[in-house]
Point group: C2
Chain length 119, copies 2
Amino acid sequence: MTTTTDIANDLVALCKQGDFATPGEKYWADNVRSIEGMGDAPVSEGKEAARGKGEWWTSNHEIHSTGVEGPYVNGDQFIVRFTMDVTFKPTGQRMQMDETALYTLKDGKIVEERFFAAA
Amino acid sequence: MTTTTDIANDLVALCKQGDFATPGEKYWADNVRSIEGMGDAPVSEGKEAARGKGEWWTSNHEIHSTGVEGPYVNGDQFIVRFTMDVTFKPTGQRMQMDETALYTLKDGKIVEERFFAAA
């Protein structure tokens, strides 16, 4: 049986390899809700919207380095911390990002991902 | 107005000073649910139960050092990471703990605290 810990560890292992696209393709539910920690359009619904958000992010940022810590598990949920040193290509601004993501699983798929911004 | 970020920052500041008791007394709701990441009795209900759990923990562990990272905020929720180097007094076993806590606020009080264990 695939447990929360199995999925969490697989997601973290992929991200540590710099692969931030495969975890979503493998584990997003078709109706996944993706909730940002800040910004104008914090909630997106569905796998297509989540994929589009990831593609926009990837094409607009140059990644200098990334850090992935976790996972931390409780029941059908887990938390991962992401730190990233990136340049936002449209402005050339370099930023140090620090956020955590809370994933909620149902039937082995991610039905919600909620991002928390460092305060 | 007191925001999630205000409460989160106050809780983190107190914990960074080594004061893990005051945040609960200040911010727990009377009916707070406290959910452990592991163990036999993962859910406790009410401020008295949460306080008792904290007092048991404090009296049974010698704390060598602690680390507090965060907070990370989204809406009425925030996440804090705790690392601790402790000795469990009954057995003398020294342990490095690493966990995150997800706090949910309602009307300026913590109605749920959910702990996630490093997997």
